[in-house]
Assembly symmetry: C2
Homo-oligomer: 125 residues x 2
Amino acid sequence: MREETIAPTSTGSLIAADRVEGTAVYNRGGDHLGSIKTVMIDKPSGKVAYAVMSFGGFLGIGEKYHPLPWGMLTYHRGQGGYVVDLDKGALEGAPQYDAAETPNYEDQAWGKQVHDYYRVPPYWM
Amino acid sequence: MREETIAPTSTGSLIAADRVEGTAVYNRGGDHLGSIKTVMIDKPSGKVAYAVMSFGGFLGIGEKYHPLPWGMLTYHRGQGGYVVDLDKGALEGAPQYDAAETPNYEDQAWGKQVHDYYRVPPYWM
């Protein structure tokens, strides 16, 4: 099995955001964690800041959103989705919000605690 | 009127790709050029390489896609869409393709001529 950091419809390192959206996310144990709702782009730098993973709920009710630093995602062809190094317990304690309480993504203090949780440097560094 | 480089649903510099998708694109003269179909992300660097603008066609037939270097887009609140500095003639001669002939986005020679056309440095520089 080939493991790559690319999406299924890509032939190399470039992927279309509308293909990332809807792609399943698993952990290394093969548990299905959710799927990518969208990606957040930092307009001035042109960098992708987060992939927003949605989990649970039905028709948007009860759905939880987890902002994941973009670099955490690795596409696994065999799995047909992204794999992140995150067990279910770590995910339960991770920064998350529901549709009614979208956080201020601009707030660097908020962004910093998301990145700190996953122990990766912030996108603005 | 305030002019900003952000999208309508954003409170600052971060925008969701699924909000960028579908947003109208105008030139400085106010001509409607098309709408954003998706954005292309360079996975390793986490940088947005292109916004793909679609134009014309019906249900995907006859539709043309123009890859626009991401930095060309400026969101104008008053216009309710992105504005690019591009007259209709320049757009006609610009790199484009239709759905049946998706280019190899990985090909740096192809990417270079897109960026050269718009006189902006490539995203990989």
